[in-house]
Each structure stands twice: as C-alpha cells, then as structure tokens.
Symmetry: D2
Subunit: 359 residues, 4 copies
C-alpha cells in the first residue's frame, strides 16, 4: 500500500485534506494494552494549530473517532481504525487555486502529484500530500508511546533550531526521561526556555513579510534496551528514516553525530565501551544509540531538517497546467509561517511507531 508501513506494528494512512475525512488503520499492537484517549488528545493537541502568531489559525477538529480495535478501553489485538472528519476548511481560500492540478504551488507536491496520478487526484489543499495527514500519524504515535512507556521507553523531541536560532541540544549521554517529558509540556518545545522569545521573533518576522522559515527537530528515546533492530534494511536507522520522510517538509535526517561525523577522525568518533553496574555503556554517544542498525542501549538520538513552509503569501511564479502557460500564484489562505513546532510531535510519533514495531 502506498501510504502504509509494514513491520511489527503496521499502519496505512488514508484521506485528503478537503475530502470527507482522514484516518489510519493501525495493526500489530499487543492486545490488552490500555489506551488513554485523553492522553492521545493531549499528544494530538501539540500538533494542532497554535492560537498565536506562530501558526495557521484554520480550525482543525482533530478528535479521532475509534471505529474498531479498542474494547473496554484496551487494545483488542485486531486492527484499530481511527477516523477524523474534515471540517472548517475555508474553501474560499482555495478559490483561485481550486485545484493544485491547475496552478501548482512551488515547494508543494501539487505538480508531482498531478503527474503521478494523471490529474485524477484530489489536489485541494494538498490533498493526500497535505500536512494534515500527520494527524493520524500523531494518533498512532501516541498509542504506541503509551505502550512503550509501560516497557520503560520514553521519547521526546524539541525544536533544535528555527532559522539561525538554536536551542541547546540534548546531552546525548545523560538525557533523562524527565527532560523528555518536560519539554513536551511547553508551548514551544525548547530545552532552553530563554530561547522562546528569539524563536517567536523570527517566526513573527517571517509571517509579517509574507514569508516562512524552516528549522531542525531533535528527537530522542531513552530506555530502549540493546539489541533492537535488524541488519541492513530493517535497522533502526532504515526504519526511522523511512517513517520520518513520511512527514511532508522533512528533507534530511542524521543520527548521533551525523554529518558532523564526516569531519571527525575515527579515534574521536568511536564511542569506547565501559561497564557500570554490570551494564555495558559508552562514554560518548556519537553513534546516537545505534550501531549496525541495532540499538546499543544508549539514548537514541537523531535530527530531522524541516524546510520552510512552502505556502508563502508572496507572489510566486508557476505554470498553468491547463494550458501550459506561465502564471503567477498568490496563496491567499492562512498558513503556518513555520511548521517546525507543529512537526515536533509528528517526529516523535514516527519514532514511537518505529520503536514499538522493532521491539
């Protein structure tokens, strides 16, 4: 299936931004796991549009309805389907661009989707390629996260950077469960709360200019036992990367030292082993908790690069697909000047699915 992941945990995401609804079928969950739908709501609210200037004001009613797979508040073991109705779309916003199949927006999948599906896809608001499709992913991530928690695994993510403003990074050796939980509760998920103002200023300025700005998200898991993952194609890096690139706007991923490792000497990049309380650990964590695709027991750490929201208010050149002439498009709707804060839970969700799938 084209929008599906198959593993120990499997899912397929369906829906279009302006169709009847979107949703997910999630399978492979162990039976008898209590799922707290209030917690799921809190997780998904982190992805919802902010009420301030940092994101779009389009109202999204993202409360999922569970059709199957939950029984008496617990996973039944059979496929879990959750659907989210589409509502409140200001279709006037999309008037001029009724269809991305006519005037493809630069930086969006309008043009490539049009070619891929011979013009038959529902391109309104991005259709199946819309960032809205990360809502079901967040639902899945929350469900998997609750199960992981009971197995001693905690995950979390923060805004590593927006434009040129940088948060503090996770300490790759000492990052703790508490830190990961604390950062989730923040409006802008930052480790260093003093960076909040700077980030807002950068986002606000982009918005005022009819522009947008990108950033980097750093994500981490602690409590993953050594030995999770399989060689070559089903390692943690392969699976996490495959899931992370399901999030629109992600253009890069690096694990541990990542691209910085390319400049290091081996003697510095290698993480030496030692023993503490009978446990094998490494003194540094340039490997990001993964060697040969398999977890080492150290914190799993990766960063994902998020491009600036392609929907900008400034006029942009495009092509009228109905007649092949060049045209100018001005995107009228309200759009996120920076998608990074809302992408944070989606990145965390992808990690949760990957981990539960491989454990």
């Amino acid at each position: 299936m084209s929008s599906a992941f198959n593993g120990g945990v499997s899912f397929v995401v369906f829906g279009e931004s302006h169709g009847s609804g979107i949703g997910i079928v999630l399978d492979g969950l162990p039976p008898g796991e209590k799922i707290d739908l209030e917690k799921t709501g809190v997780f998904m609210a982190r992805r919802a549009p902010r009420k301030d200037g940092t994101s779009t004001r389009r109202e999204e009613s993202d409360v999922p309805e569970i059709l199957s797979g939950l029984y008496n508040g617990k996973t039944s073991g059979t496929p879990l389907c959750a659907i989210i109705r589409n509502a409140g779309q200001r279709s006037a916003d999309y008037e001029k661009i009724t269809r991305g199949n006519v005037l493809p927006r630069p930086g969006h999948a309008d043009y490539t989707g049009h070619i891929r599906y011979g013009g038959h896809n529902d391109a309104r608001g991005g259709g199946h390629f819309s960032g809205r499709l990360t809502a079901p992913l967040c639902f899945a991530g929350s469900v998997c996260g609750q199960i992981l928690e009971r197995r001693g695994v905690t995950t979390g993510a923060h805004i590593y950077s927006v434009g040129n403003a940088e948060d503090e990074p996770f300490d790759p050796v000492c990052v703790s469960e508490n830190e990961l939980n604390a950062v989730k509760a923040r409006y802008l998920p930052l480790l260093n709360a003093e960076k909040d103002d700077e980030m807002r200023r950068i986002i606000g300025r982009a918005q005022k200019n009819g522009d947008s700005v990108g950033g980097i998200i750093e994500c981490c898991a602690v409590g993953v036992p050594a030995g999770v993952g399989s060689p070559m194609l089903d390692g943690l890096e392969n699976v996490i990367a495959r899931l992370i690139f399901a999030i629109p706007a992600v253009k890069g991923i690096e694990f541990g030292a990542g691209f910085a490792a390319a400049k290091m000497k081996g003697s510095r990049n290698n993480d030496e082993f030692y023993v503490k309380d009978g446990e094998v650990l490494t003194k540094t964590n340039n490997h990001g908790g993964i060697l040969g695709g398999i977890s080492s027991g150290m914190p799993i750490i990766f960063r994902a690069a998020v491009k600036p929201t392609p929907s900008v208010a400034l006029p942009q050149k495009t092509v009228d697909l109905s007649d092949g002439t060049e045209a100018v498009i001005k995107i009228a709707g309200r759009h996120d000047p920076c998608i990074v804060p809302r992408a944070v839970p989606a990145v965390e969700a992808a990690l949760n699915v990957a981990l539960l799938s491989l454990m």
Copy 2:
C-alpha cells in the same frame, strides 16, 4: 526478511565476512534485459580496495558467479542469484578478536549484533555487518543501472568531502549525464580533479596516525521522468533513505538543500516553475528533484554522511563480553583509513535499485 528490500525490484543479501560466501537474490527485473557482466565487473571494481594508501590491502576476489536468472546474457525474469566466495582473509589479523562476540570493537556492530543474536552470530570480521556485504549491493546496483540507462536515466556520485576538504558540488540544475559518467572513471571520484592531492594527503595522514577519517558522498540521477514515487511511506526519499542506511557507516542523508533548507526562508527555498520547450521545469533545485516523495523531472540529488572507519590501529577501550571486565583492544589488521571512496559506488547502487524499483 531482515536484510531484504521489497518493492518493484526486490533483493535479499546474505553472507558473513568470514563464512563460505556472500551473495544476493535479486528479483523483479524486467525479462529480456541484456546484462553486460564486464560492466558489472567495472562497477564492482570501483568498490574494491585500492592499490595505494587510501584503502585496505586485503585482497578481495569479488567476481560474482551467477547461479540463476540470466539466460543467454539476458534477464530471464525469474530470481537472479549471484554469489561471491570468501577468500584471502588474513585470519591471523583476527586472532585476538577471534570473535567480535568477545571483544567488541568500538564503532562496529560487534556489541549490538552480539546482543541481538544472543551471541550466536558469526562475528568474525564483522560477520553479516561487514562492509563486504556492500559488494552484492554494488552488483545489484550495476544490473539495475544498465537497465535504467536504456530508459534514459543516468546516475553518478562523487566524494563531496573528506574531513575538511571539499570537492565542488554538483550543479543541481545543470548537472549532465556526461559529468556523471566522467566522474565514475576517476580513481578518486572528484568533480574537481585538483582536489585529488589534498584528499589523499588527509587520508594518508590519518593512516600514518593509525587513525581514520570520514566524509560526505553526493549522488545524483538525471533523466528520471516526473511522477516517480508514491506518497508518505513509498516516496523517493523514504525508499532511497532506507536503502542508503543499509550501507554501514552512513549516519545521515539529506535531499536537495537538505539541512541548509532549515535556515532558509520559504521565498528562497521554494523552486518556482517555468516552461521550456513544453516541459515544466524549476529555475532552482532546492527540492533535489523530489516533492511529496515524487520526482519532479529535475535532477535527483542527495548527500550521505559517512562516519570515519571504526577500525583504527590505535588502542581502544572496550569490554570483554566473556567476563564483563573492561579491556583494551588493538585492531591489528589492515583497514581502510577512509571508506568514503569505496562507498561511492555503493551509494550509487542504492539509488539505482531505488529508482528501478519505483519506475
């Protein structure tokens, strides 16, 4: 299967570094495609150890034997199996570390593989996690590449950087088939041949110090028509990333502007459309030829970060897994001071498989 890829083209890689042999079963190839085994040999020779100081001198006899799937020099349509015998391993080198299951080498998968398989895996020389397993991948990449060529697609890769030395990047808009073919023929695959000396110096210095150095590989495909790839989990980015992380030592991947996009404004990162001779093109190519996981018709460009070879001659701290005490390991064998040049064809191979699989 744990070392397998499933798609339009599928494969499974098998073997251990010091077992009887390694190989691949490759399936999904269109029938009737002529495969020039001489060309396959040339491709694989690019991965073979160099005769100079830039790589290990262990002799590898990497001429694959085809057991099935080729008939009268053409693909038969049924699974193609190629095997490569293991020979020439200087087992004395591995004497002290007879088994990575006892003294895991830092930066290698010895420790994680040991835990994953309960100590039952063949860890000699890295076993199934050895870089040697990229030989079958290169074989598959060459086969797929020959078929892609007939469909107008050319791929190529070069050393983007080694340590702090940088080659020129591909021109993301104008890169040509000729350029891609030319760089393959070079001993060190560099666009700017004048960088050759500097790179060798860096690698040579690392070797003299008993150390190693990492780098970045840039890879490109031209001639891919618009519309290749599927949304969310089966997009070009998902599939390429999944395959690239099958190459040991890769710790990051970025498409188009990649991590640099995180610092850009949307107005600059977006690639505007225009029409030329009836074809829809973009003036810039920050999207790396991929929007929403689907090809736009522009060159596909990505970079992979390669960590420094973990096998360094310097003594390193580790843990003796037989008794849980701390120990020091000194890796005696001859090892690549820089794996980057030999990883170049593996990266190209991964792209070839991804492209043919999705086309």
Copy 3:
C-alpha cells in the same frame, strides 16, 4: 497487518461485528477509474440477508460511506477508505453469550480468538471473525470488478451445491461472459433455475430443525489474458487461495479438475494445445486456466467448500472459559441456516481482487 492483503492491489479490513463500524482501506487502484456506487450497492446487496427463509433476518445497513480515494466519482489513486456503521444488532440475542470469551460457540472462532488475544478481543457476535467482515471485501470486489470489466475480464460465481443438491457446473471451456452476468441477477445464483426449489427445501428443512447446511461455490473468470501471475508463491492459485480462505467457513479450494485430477491419468488430465484464429487454446480445461500459477488464457475456474453455518439453534456442549467447567450453549439469535448463497459474492469479490492485483 493481520487482516491485510498486499499486492498490486492491497487492502486492510477492520472492525468488529458489534463495535462502532467496519470497513476497508483499498489501495493500488489505477487512478481515473470511474466507480459506479450504485453497482457497488447491487453487488453488496447480493451478500445481504435474504427476506425469505434462506438467511438471517437481522437487518444490516451495509451502505458504505467513502471517506477518501474517490474524487469526482473516479479513483484518485490514493488510498480509498470505505466504512460501514454497525446498527440494528439485537444485542438481546447475545445476552447469554455476551462474550464468546466466556462460552465459545462450537465451530466459531470464539475459543481460538480468545486464546490468540488473551481474552482482550471483542468477541460479541464473532467480533473481527464475524462473517459481517465480508461486506468490506464485497465492496472491494465490486470496485475491482468494475475496473476489470473495462479490461475485458468478467467474473461470476454460482451455488455449485447445497448439501446433496447440485447445480450444473460451468462448462470449463465454453463458459461465457453472458452466463456469468446472468447468474448474478438470480435470487439464488444457480445455472439451472430448476434446482431452485430443491435447494430452498434443503435450506428450509435445516432451519426448521434448528440446524444448518453447507455447500460448494464455483467461481469463474473469462477474458483474463495469458501470462498473469508469478511462479511459486505469487501464482494465481496461491493468491486466490489466500484470499478465499479469508472468508469464514471456507474449508477447501480446488482449481480446474481439482481433487478429481488426483484420480486421473496424465494423458486424460493434460489439456492439449491447439490454435484458433492465431490464439493458443486448450481443448479441455482441467487446468482451470492456470499452469504454473500463471493464466493460460482459458477460463479460470475454481470451487470453494463452505462448511455449514456453525450457529445452530440446537443445544451444544462447550466450556465455560471463566471457570473451566463444561457447559451447554443454546444460540438464540437469528442465523443463516445456509451461508452459501450470501458467500457467493464474497468468493467472486476475492477473485476480483486477486485478478486486478496480479494484472
């Protein structure tokens, strides 16, 4: 995914008999295919309970709601989700057996599902194992069938036997598109309409006795070109069989001469080739249109054995899973005395999915 099929066409079925709803996500459909939902309704009505004595009178509102994947009446190319709400269940009927997790009904999956899911599954009315889950399969089958029709493929099925009463078989060489379409329109899908009375009598008698009766369904496709299917695990027989056994109550399948071939000599069972109007055909069709898993161009024919409905009114011995004691169960609800007529479209649906998936 556990209730999923992956191929050229893929789907996952979700839901439980007495939960909020059931449904399907269907993917891999070619974009731009017009889907007539009225035809889909007619197909699904063939599966619906009959208003006479041959089936249960429980009202099922099986009109699916399409959430995604259809745009302007055509397939969009992205995953199609259809849901069907559960309603009208007479929960009083299930009072004593509130949960198959307590008093498993003989012949049902109550006991095995209970063990499989550690008692956490929703076993009311059979839960995820209910025959009701064939409704989404029929939906998928109708969608695929409409697309197949445009490619010149027609499928159909009839009641081959009920108890000891037998219909005429399809002529394996001459069966025509018209015949296949005609039999679908009949209340009891029989080739020989004169058998109608006998079949009803057998079913009626079983019902009067608080009992049930099984039968055999014969299914056929004409217009399938030669060359469809792949060797060993992905042949037509493998794929059709895998899908047919998704229908509860099916306990056997045979292709062409099937079990009768086991008694034949090779000289009689082999179908000799001849040429007619430049086309290669066989004079007989004991191979059921499939050789080596691949279509020969002759009609594809198979039969599926359907066991008698396990829900009978007579008291049956079972075990109280709450305390491990033996018990007697009397199933009070209204149940089909013979599931065969309603299973006919499900069998046809499975064939449609298999064929479109492999073409």
Copy 4:
C-alpha cells in the same frame, strides 16, 4: 519477490532446472538453533528419485551447500543461504524440446511461462517452474521442522490416495507423534503398509502405458498450541494454502472435513468442546485444528490434491510457438509416472515453514 514467502520465517527460492544451480535464502530463524545436516539430508532424500519403478531415474545430486547463516552448527540469526548445483541432466532428453519456449508441453508451465516472460525465461526442463525447485523447499522444511520439534510440534504426511487406491486416513483426534514419525521412514509413506503393493501396481501400470497418475497427500501436525495464526489473510489456512500451491502439480487443498463438510449439517460438522485435565479439547475434529484461521490445539490436518505428472511418454498435441502451427510432442526423457510419493516431504515442508512462521 516472485518466488518468495514473507512472514515470521521468510524465504526466496531461486534457480532453473538446467541452469548452474538452485537454492534458497531462508530468514527469520531464531538464532542458536542446532541444525543437524544429516537429518536435513534424510528429509531431502525422501524427495529424491526412487531407485525403483515409481519415479524417474535421473540422478539428482541434491546435497545443499550452506553459504551463510549457520555458525558452529547453529543458526546465526542472519539469512541462511543454501545452494544445490545442477548436474547429471541428460540434456539429450531435452533435445527436441530444447526450449519449452518452442514446443510447450501440455500440463506444464512452458506455455504460460513463455508468455509471462516474453520468451526470455530459461524453459529447459521446466526452468524455474520445475519440480526440482521443491528441493530447496524441502531443505527449508527440514530446518524449520527441527526447530519445531524442540517446541513440541511434530508434523508428518502420507499418501492418502494414488488413483483409486486409498490408504487409511489419519485419525483426526488421536493421531500421534509416533505415527507421524513412523510413516516418514517408509519407502512409500503409507499408514497401512498393506496398500504398498496396490499403489506400486497402479504406478507401474501407468508407467508401462507411457502414462502417469495423480493422488492425494494428507498432512498433519500435532503439538501446535492453541492460538497460532491471525484473522482473515494470515490465518493458518491462508498461509498453508499459499505455501502448498508453491508445489507444482497441487490443484486443491482442504482442511479438516474439507469438501465433505459441504454436505454435512452444522450439528454434525461442529466440534463440541470439552475439558480434559484442564485442557479444552474437541470430541471430533472436522475443523482440522483450525477455527477462524487460528489453531485450536487439536491436530492440524489437511489434504492436497496432486495432479498426474504432466510429462507422459504418449504423443501429445501442442503448438509450435516459433511459427504458430500445430505440432505433436513426444517427451523422451525419464519422468516420474507418479509424483505423489516425492511430493509428500514437500507438503510436510510447506507445513513446517507455515507453522514456524506463525508461531
């Protein structure tokens, strides 16, 4: 992959009858399992041609070479590759039919394979469709069987019938481990040894007449705990059927009462539950140990219909594919007059893979 099975245990089979070699890559085996290659040889010998009149005298050297995945006699956990060289083929036999791509043999996959692969496949001796490809399946079945044995599961199969001669069936309730092991040791695997003569006579007569004869194989597993299998598409019936139809010549499969259930009343076909020593059992076993695709703890029983060997010495009509004219073919080589005895271990092997994969 086209000749591949994916599950808890996965494999891909490769090779052509007259190419360099055939083999299998088997993955998903638990690490650390001792594999006795002598036992594997005994299992495969059961599939080898008999030295008497019941099978072909072509010599097959079916001793597999293990290339990977076994370390110190135990499974390493990484993919296990076994190859078998092709040798001793009397190519003169295939002279006239150098290629099934020219004169397709009735009842074989020559014609369908030719169309499927556009004439590019290696059709000599059946190529990838040859019964010889069941040798790797038997290897896999033996490996899985040794692991199953340690988990308390025993499987076995016997000749249920050849032509009109029938062996005794397994007692579906009381069949024992000992019985299953005993029948394997017999030259013709029959429960009632007195049937040996009759079977040989039937096979001998067919051979003398230049003809062949089919039969039915019954297969059983005892010791499978309740709860193995998943609903709808991944139930035991789906998976076993998919694997069994990988064996050339199988045209039907039925579980438990199978086709006979179609004539039964529900009150007779249902297997009532009772308790014995705290275990839930059924008094009868018409369900063949499977309800809703999931094991009940009772013996798993199924029968597979095997068509008569399509290679008969009698002249047969076919079509010359090189010019489209009708032709007569006379198959000169030595061929099995009855493939049933040699197919018995292949059926058992398929069950072993299915069971280990789902457990």
